[in-house]
Symmetry: C2
Subunit: 366 residues, 2 copies
């Protein structure tokens, strides 16, 4: 059924330059509705008993944010009734209804989100996400040949990995799972290998300092050197970027001596032009003259809840990079992540040396 | 959007030889859902304000007869609210939901039925059905060149025309309109000509003896000559045909002297084989030996509520046919219809002479 959503978008563009999002949702929801009916038929043809449910039938109630709705609550009465009767329930992902009965879609990552959300509503023991990779790896195996599949990872680590380039799942679904304590497993639909279990952290997990290393390429860095050092300057800058829909990633600020600050941040390089255009009016207001931008940057992150109780992790990472002759540009840290920007041309090498420095290629993890 | 339903049926046949009707409805309902969203977008692109509604959203509640559900009631609260706000409501035809929230489809003629039903629920002044013909004609204009469009026709006449080969609308929708007193107009989506108003009969209508003439081709006649003249014989025969899904049209019976009856009836010639197979076991039980069948038959009907108060209408019709040398085989009458079967090769000529005998080519009707 691949390509269906694109065909529907094409049909919409033929009748309207700016279709109402409300109607886009009615249109796009047909894709999954087609799939669940066919899936239920296919399972029944194999001798199982299956029942399809649209988002509305499954009681997935969302807010009215069409094309990117948020789930508000799930009244899974019908799904439960079908399960109690022994049926396999095929639930349309990516969709819901508002409390007024309007059809909504959940936007990017909405199918995974539906799975996690219904698992939560049903108090399921486990939610299995079948995808095209067989789990979360210590690093991208195309970059680091001896990367290993991670058997178990905490929600927080998964979130940091997701926000750092390991796009197995959208952060949104992981956040939902963390909030409602839904353990889930990411595994392949193409084989029976065990996948990666994503769950609440437990003491044993801390014995591993770094769970994985992730890499994000094609980044651009913008540096503003003369931001007036007064309240509201940073707000004006990032508000303008937010309003323009620019996703800002790392932000680093230092106050210089002369009452002006220097702010650097990264964006995807495809959004560099949009970011510069969004900033122009703000620069005029704030009296900023200098903006430097640089492309060809990568971000490398080492993630692990173990670093909370282990000292010297950052130093180990920086030492490994220095030994390989790789210069670090920006540094940003969270409680369980150390991220650096480097030249994109050195990204693969950097990933390999950091992966090796923390011994991620060795033995079973956790 | 033509061909969408066939594509969906094709997809279903690829996954299952015998797809559950419940899932067929989930699948087929996506066709209209796609269309209503696109239609609403197109109207908004032209500057109107439009809102789409699925059958479920429009409160069209049906029984659970999947793929051929019957409308039970309509809770048009949402449709009314949208109309009150000045929106154009684009309602998915052909579909509804059960009181348990399962998606259903209404089967053949279901889109017209939806239109009539929602018009009834909204107490609309008029329901307009836009189709590919610009109204109901006194006869098929391809057969009778001077056939005229009928400006106004009663529900009962429309029903008799529909059941007599004038397939502008399914009898089912007309019956619903009659039951709930919904006046509707059949008109063309390709031009702005006034169409045919279908409404409750009023005294003026009776001044016209015959409203129209309709023709049904490709009929077959089955005659059984030695049916035991006892209670239940006819029942056994027509029960067997009904169970086999054979649509029987005209039925004529005469009791002969020797305690046996002769029954003739017509079916569509495509169903002749099925009818003969269905009758075989009954013949054995009843001790019937003789069955004659004949194809190449047409049915010609003259319809008009005026014949209730005019005598000699049948005689006029038979006279016209006799003058043209056309033999009548079977005759069947209702209060407002006279139907005869004739040889199919004489069908066009028969339609022309009857049309002319009642002066249907002249002046405005009603």
């Amino acid at each position: 059924m691949s390509g269906v959503t694109n065909s529907l978008l094409q049909l919409a563009s033929e009748v309207s330059d700016e279709p109402a999002e409300r109607e886009m949702d009615v249109l796009l929801a047909t894709g999954e509705q087609t799939t669940i009916a066919l899936m239920a038929m296919a399972i029944e043809a194999l001798g199982g008993r299956a029942v399809s449910c649209t988002g509305g039938q499954a009681g997935i109630v969302t807010d009215g944010g069409h094309t990117r709705a948020r789930i508000q609550n799930i009244a899974a009465t019908e799904v439960k009734a079908h399960l109690d009767e022994g049926a396999i329930v095929i639930l349309a992902g990516f969709q819901g209804i508002t409390s007024q009965g309007r059809i909504t879609t959940l936007g990017r990552g909405g199918s995974d989100l539906t799975a996690i959300a219904i698992a939560s509503a049903l108090k399921a023991d486990l939610c299995q996400i079948f995808t095209d990779v067989d789990g979360v790896y210590t690093c991208d195996p195309r970059v680091v040949a001896d990367a290993r599949k991670i058997p178990e990872i905490s929600y927080d680590e998964m979130l940091e990995m997701a926000s750092s380039g390991s796009k197995v799942m959208q952060a949104r679904s992981v956040e939902f799972a963390k909030k409602y304590q839904v353990p889930f497993e990411v595994r392949s639909s193409l084989n029976n290998n065990p996948g990666t279990l994503v769950t609440e952290e437990h003491p044993n997990m801390e014995s591993v300092v770094i769970r994985g290393v992730s890499l994000e390429r094609s980044q651009a860095k913008i540096t503003i050197s003369d931001v007036p050092d007064k309240a509201g300057s940073a707000y004006s800058i990032f508000r303008a970027l937010g309003d323009a829909g620019v996703n800002v990633d790392m932000i680093v600020q230092n106050v210089s001596k002369e009452g002006v600050a220097k702010i650097s941040f990264t964006v995807h390089q495809d959004e560099l032009g949009k970011a510069e255009r969004a900033l122009a009016p703000v620069f005029e207001t704030l009296g900023i003259s200098q903006l430097e931008s640089e492309t060809g940057i990568a971000k490398l992150s080492a993630v692990g809840i173990g670093m909370r109780s282990h000292s010297g992790v950052a130093a180990d990472m920086f030492e490994a990079l220095a030994a390989a002759g790789i210069s670090i540009q920006m540094i940003s840290t969270s409680e369980i992540k150390i991220a650096v920007t480097i030249e994109e041309s050195q990204a693969d090498e950097a990933a390999r040396v950091v992966h090796s420095a923390f011994g991620l290629e060795k033995g079973p993890l956790a």
